[in-house]
Amino acid sequence: MSIITVQIGQCGNQIGTQLFSTIYDDIFSKDTGIQASKNEDYMDAALNRFFSCEGSVPEARAVMVDMEQKVISQAVSAAKRTGRWRFASGQQYVRGSGSGNNWARGFAAHGPRASDAVLDMLRHESEKCDRADGFLFATSLAGGTGSGVGARLCARVREEHPRAVVVCHAVAPYAAGEVAVQSYNALLTLASLRRGGADAVVLSANDDLHAVCATTPRGGGGREPVSFDDLNAVACRQLAAALLPAEGAPPSLSDVVDALAPHADYRLLSMRHAPQPTAAALPFTEVAWTPLLRRLRRMHAATSARDEGFERESGRVRSVADLLTVRGDGADDADCDAIADHRGAVWAPPGERVRVRRCRRRYGGLRRSAVLVSNSQAVLGTVEGITEKAWRLFASRAYLHQYVACGLTEDDFVQSFADVEQVIHSYRHL
């Protein structure tokens, strides 16, 4: 059951490349903690999920999109340099002169132009799969291409494949500014995805990823500088843990999405992963299931991305649904009640609020680890922050002329605010 990744824009292509690397490295990890024969089965399933193995070198099941050549060239070379996997040739769409951080340019100008070619590439990828499980979009919210072209392509793919599952992984920028118009771009993307396109949106916020990096310095020394590579590595570690197969029949993406995101107003997901040891401490890290899962629950309740140094929760973080994946020694017997200890939305019966997937194989060199993907109020901080800032700009009519020049109207903005406020309202009143 294969997942096809569509990576769009600089961030999307960096994340996509890192994701395939993380997955590949984990597939070929020597520290699995399970029998060789079981491991072979797992490796086959996992490889097939993400790579096409027809040739001598596994090729990522990916379509790469950007509005300038440089980023994609870098991604393709980075993959080649590993010597172990690569991106298939002919699956890259590069046209145009950049989106200039303008969502409207990405959505209204570049997106439509790219659609047909990208759909063709997707069709080509699908044909290489025995069974295509769904599409994973890797995009960002802040820029012009990932956000604008991403939103447009998501919608187009949904139109062409009404029964396919589309999950969008979107990176939210630092609250304190990477791009001056980031809150507009983010708002417009979230509104567009809500209207139609993605079945679920997994949000990874740079602030959260940075918090994880800042407390897990490599080598164990003092505070080390954090780069985008570091942020991407954290995001992909979590995402891979959630997407890799669990033993037995791997659940399909559509099962996962049905369980997690049943309703149009509730499609935003967040990830929490534990433990997070430093590279130096990794070989010595061993946490039993109960403390590990309790820690994860506390992280969730405190909306903390990192696994230590956060304040205990004051209020509750209510969930619509959660998916817990436990990987490592004794996963089959891990008592997961510890994680299920929070209220869900009214309509989900108690036993079904937290789904659990189990995999005995160790992940990422960790004896025991777990990732919690939840559809909950945890996203409110990021989404409200975006909406608040975007509104302040809009109320002063700032930057509007740039979007209007590409065909967006003030009404489109108002409608987008309405859509996102609706989502905020829904989550707040869980």
């Binding site: 951080n101 303008n102 109320a395």
Partner: protein, 451 residues
């Protein structure tokens, strides 16, 4: 690859432009889409004789012989009309060789006749003939108060109106600021040579932003201009580094225009660069990264004399090159934020770019571009100088005898600049008086109320 076309006009524009190509070729096999325009042959011919002669071909040059006599009207009306077709042809030829033309980059001075007059005429041509290339990015050198050319205020104000109406984004550069920077660098250099500094700190060969590697046999005035041109050339290199080199966060000229221009007419950016030079002494540690940020926000590093700390920031871009990491940049934004006043609706109005490759001779560098209301002072000073002449109608007849030039042009231009100044001043005094609450979702159904 997304590409820009550099159009350099007049003596100043061509000197800086040629210096830029010279440096760019050293850094990287440059992709040389350019059009060079001058109404005198001196500079362009000199360029052709040098190493740049191999890089450009004759179809990229448009020249005449007699010059514009420091008269904007002659440049804009007379030569602008005469050479319109030739210039458009030349640009079109360059454009056809681009896979994806992203923007036009125009380089000229404001105080003379050709750069100022023909330069602004070209902006109009670009808008009319290439409407899809929406970004016209201008680097404009403004005259100092003691400029040799008496009519420079006329030329500058007439050109400024065009820049406000036709350009997307402008980097004003002041000769005075460039001179001050050069003085600072050479003072440091001579002091260390004279042993005034107790350390053996010397400026590393070739690392100063004012270094020109030519200069043998040139007179001191020319050498001074060389140093100043070099600074601007380095600015241009840093501005466009994402196009040539890899980085974890690419920024191109279109993104700069997008993020730094919240209102269409208010598109003038204060630029500043650090470091100005590197030291050779291995015993003195390189000024740390954090100091570089502090320096870049000090007036001594600006390419235009202005006081952004007393103005209001509308937005600010940080283009970092070299071994700086994302977290270094973020840490410094946090540090520096509190001493800067941002307009209330754009408190997080930062745009960041990271390019992995530093400039030659330095481990890292920072270019800041600030859209700040303090720029109105530059325009106000220019208006004062303009009025000193205009009140007496001094030299007006030189302009009015040019076919197509009328007094109304002077009045309109003056008014345009005055209203621009007023717009900046208005922003400076806006407080967040009216709070507009966000949209509310009605509790009972999903209808929206827009208050």
């Amino acid at each position: 690859m997304s590409q820009s076309i550099l159009i350099q006009i007049g003596q100043c524009g061509n000197q800086i432009g040629c210096r830029f190509w010279d440096l760019a070729l050293r850094e990287h096999a440059a992709n040389n889409k350019a059009v060079l325009v001058d109404m005198e042959e001196g500079v362009v011919n000199a360029a052709l004789k040098g190493p740049l002669g191999d890089v450009f071909d004759h179809k990229q040059f448009i020249t005449d012989v007699s010059g514009s006599g420091n008269n904007w009207a002659v440049g804009n009306r007379f030569y602008g009309r005469r050479y319109r077709e030739a210039i458009v042809e030349s640009v079109r030829r360059e454009a056809e060789m681009c896979d994806a033309l992203q923007c036009f980059f125009v380089l000229h001075s404001m105080g003379g006749g050709t750069g100022s007059g023909v330069g602004t005429a070209i902006l109009g041509m670009l808008r009319d003939e290439f409407p899809d290339v929406y970004n016209r990015f201008v680097t404009a050198v403004f005259p100092s108060a003691d400029d040799d050319v008496i009519t420079s205020p006329y030329n500058s104000i007439l050109a400024l109106k065009q820049l406000t109406e036709v350009a997307e984004c402008v980097l004003p550069i002041e000769n005075q600021a460039l001179q001050d920077i050069c003085t600072r660098i050479s003072k440091f250099s001579s002091q260390s040579k004279a042993g005034i500094h107790t350390s053996a700190a010397k400026i590393k060969e070739g690392s100063a932003v004012s270094d020109s590697h030519q200069g043998a046999g040139k007179c001191s005035v020319q050498k001074a201009f060389d140093s100043m041109n070099n600074i601007v050339a380095n600015l241009l290199l840093n501005l466009t580094c994402s196009a040539r080199f890899e980085g974890s966060l690419n920024v191109d000229l279109n993104e700069i225009s997008m993020n730094l221009v919240p209102f269409p007419r208010l598109h003038y950016l204060v630029s500043s660069m650090a470091p100005l030079y590197s030291l050779t002494d291995v015993n003195i540690p390189q000024r740390r990264l954090d100091s570089m940020f502090g320096d870049a926000f000090s007036p001594a590093h600006q390419l235009i004399r202005a006081d952004p700390k007393h103005g209001l920031y509308l937005a600010c871009a940080l283009m970092v090159r070299g071994k700086a990491q994302l977290s270094d940049v973020r840490r410094n934004i946090e540090r520096i934020k509190s001493s800067l006043r941002f307009v209330h609706w754009n408190q997080e109005g930062w745009k960041t770019g990271l390019c992995a490759v530093p400039p030659t001779g330095q481990p890292y560098s920072l270019l800041t571009l600030a859209n700040n209301t303090c720029i109105e002072k530059t325009f106000t000073d220019l208006v004062v100088r303009f009025n000193r002449l205009y009140k007496r109608k001094a030299h007006l007849h030189h302009y009015l005898t040019v076919d197509g030039m009328e007094v109304a042009e002077f009045d309109d231009s003056l008014q345009s600049v005055q209203s621009l100044i007023a717009e900046y001043k208005d922003l400076q005094t806006t407080r967040q008086s009216i709070f507009i609450p966000r949209l509310q979702v009605a509790a009972s159904d999903y209808s929206m109320q827009y208050t």
